[in-house]
Point group: C2
Chain length 422, copies 2
């Protein structure tokens, strides 16, 4: 007998019928001989509706009250789901985050899970019941308050429960069939990925793939919890996100997929004195505004003029804060001009096999050149190449790269490089 | 400085504007120099909507899950109200029932408050903040579960908090101006009662007056918490529900008011053997079905036939259960026939001064006679006379009695009897 943790997102429990369908799937899993612990998100648009209610009350931020407000959504769905499971003749108990022993720390609205004490869940499992846990929430022992985990919090809850219960798998049910080699809305021929490593998935998520949030994957990697991302509608096998094992690069395509991101903008600071400390002063100002930056590019120094330009990308929503912070330090930094640009897109190619294979970046840049896509910024890691393009060229770029690496489902098979060292 | 506990019902917090209005009232109370603790119900129809959601999922009863489902409503309203108060520049913290230290025992759906440990509320008060508590809910330490208190639970929460905090007054805000001498929808000339004793209010509530639930009044009487029932819309003085003090009967009208109840039905069991133990067997059967009965009448024994008839009233919703239970014991009880009748109404006249004044019942029955109202059953207590009439004569009966005791606002003043012993 194995222990399965299942997570159902808001679209999977959007209404009474959907909840009953999820209940049947849970009971089938139990009847197949597995113990089952379930984490559930708020129904459909409940969270958005609660946020709208709060906005109608107040334009200010009230993080503590906002957190307890939002946790109502998961409490509603968890209790309804428990009722639906019990109606099928299977014992079930619902638990709030605090009842499930999910202990959090950090700021309201984006708390971290620091510990899970799953005593009551174990009792429920031992009693033969399904334990159904409200996702996205936990208990801060210091403040004695309920906190939410921020975006993707229910996925993180599921992985944390799976880790604490030493579950065999954490199944993340969603409204798509798994993780794809590219966004199918951009690349209709994108293929479902059967198996991807934690590291690759982390880079996919951080580069704009929306199926899983980076923090959830990071948690799974840390505790080595296999994730199975699959559809709550189709019942098909989805994508397994797992640790890398020896020989993997022999068997797998070098490239996992192509991710893209439209949510960033670019700030270029022109005429920065080309002396030590300039960049530090600039990014200290940005950090003070609590803005997360992504890529940074500095022009080749122009010896003649003694000044240079620095560009960086950041979430579009943070542009105004960052701009204000930099302009406040204009005299200190000593730049000439600040230009913002939100018409950019980022394309990333991800694959663990990239480490041991030359030729990947050459093929990547050739594909972009052949598609007439101009490259504005470049950033690479061991298993990823990202470039910034004009926003209106992003889809073209994604399709071109996807095809160039043999990822289209119409192609015979993905380009397979030799193993490490070959 | 005094401590005021305020309770706002669902209609007082039905939408964002209503919540902001309540917030202003709270802040005004604080600015007038009082410490304020607030209990709040779920917004408008939220509880009904959650019940409907559960009904769409399941036709069965799931008491534990139902309770945690329903508590979401008060959590939403309490956090929104705290935001609205904070927006007015006044510190405020919201607390769930468990966070507020409301400890419950008993069955899900109708738990009792057995203890209040208001440490966190005291801390909030000491910090100068308004403490806003989710009504209707508490924490069962044995099961470690959240429970609801059943109908009128938020009022009871308010009174329990007021008792635990030794508050000066518990203000119950509602959508009417207070407790009236009769239901104004039946008697347009009914008057607002300025002051009523716990005992009278208990009998008014138990006899069908809907403003307060009996358990809330009972709790207030036990801990001697003055209740002020008033409108959240008008801001006028409402009705004070207080303990009886010496000299009260000198100053006050003998009659507090006239209550009526349309929610009961009558069962008559015909041809019951007129021997000891018959009634016991009948009501044992009813008790087994967990049906609460109200009035009981047994016919004068008919020596000739050796059989008698027994009638009793009970909630209309319980008729089917009671009938089944009695019919199951038909052979044991040995009756001839069972007749149910849901076309009855009950009118009650309540007044603490009744104790020391003769003539009240005579005037009561004369009023009914003059209005051609036939009396089917009679029941009395020290401070109350109730009779059962045909349902279609109930309004006529209420108006006639209301007028006969000088309670109409168009009358110069209420009939005032002499004090005790006069």
């Amino acid at each position: 007998m194995s222990l399965v943790v299942q997570k159902y997102g808001g679209s999977s429990v959007a209404d009474a019928d959907a909840i009953k369908r999820v209940a049947r799937r849970i009971v089938e899993t139990k009847q197949a001989g597995h113990d089952v612990v379930v984490t559930v998100s708020a129904m459909g648009d409940t969270t958005d509706e609660l946020i709208a209610l709060a906005a109608a009350i107040s334009a200010d931020e009230h993080p503590r009250e906002m957190d307890i407000l939002l946790t109502a959504g998961e409490r509603i769905s968890m209790s309804l789901l428990a009722m639906a499971v019990r109606d099928l003749g299977q014992g079930a108990q619902s638990f709030t985050g605090p009842q499930a022993g999910v202990i959090t720390a950090g700021a309201y609205g984006r708390a971290r899970i620091i510990e899970v004490s799953p005593g009551r869940l174990r009792d429920a499992i031992d009693a033969g019941d399904i334990a159904i846990v409200a996702g996205f929430q936990g208990y801060n022992q210091e403040s004695q308050d309920i906190q939410t985990l921020g975006r993707g919090g229910s996925d993180t809850t599921a992985v944390a429960l799976a880790a604490a219960l030493n579950a065999d798998v954490c199944e993340i049910y969603t409204d798509v069939d798994g993780v794809f080699t590219a966004d199918p809305r951009v690349v209709p021929s994108a293929r479902k990925i059967d198996r991807i490593t934690f590291e690759e998935m982390l880079d996919m998520a951080a580069s704009g793939a929306k199926v899983l949030m980076p923090r959830c994957v990071e948690y799974a990697r840390r505790f080595n919890v296999p994730i199975h991302v699959r559809s709550s509608f189709s019942g098909l096998e989805g994508t397994w996100v797992v640790g890398e094992t020896e020989g993997d690069t022999m068997e797998n395509a070098i490239i996992a997929g192509v991710a893209h991101d439209r949510s960033e903008a670019k700030i270029t600071v022109i005429g920065v004195p080309d002396v030590p400390g300039s960049a530090a002063r600039l990014f200290e100002a940005v950090a003070r505004a609590e803005v997360n930056i992504d890529m940074i590019v500095q022009n080749v120094s122009a010896v003649v003029t003694g000044v240079t330009d620095i560009s960086f990308t950041l979430p579009t929503a943070s542009v105004s804060d960052a701009k204000k912070a930099i302009e406040a330090d204009k005299a200190l930094i000593g730049y000439a001009e600040l230009v913002t640009d939100d018409a950019i897109g980022k394309i990333s190619l991800i694959g663990a096999g990239m480490r041991s294979n030359s030729g990947v970046s050459a093929r990547f840049f050739a594909a972009l050149r052949d598609a007439s896509v101009n490259i504005e910024m470049i950033s690479t890691s061991e298993i990823r190449i990202s470039v910034v393009t004009r926003a209106d060229m992003l889809d073209t770029a994604v399709r071109a790269v996807h095809t160039a690496f043999g990822l289209d489902s119409t192609q015979a098979e993905a380009v397979v490089y030799g193993g490490a060292g070959l």
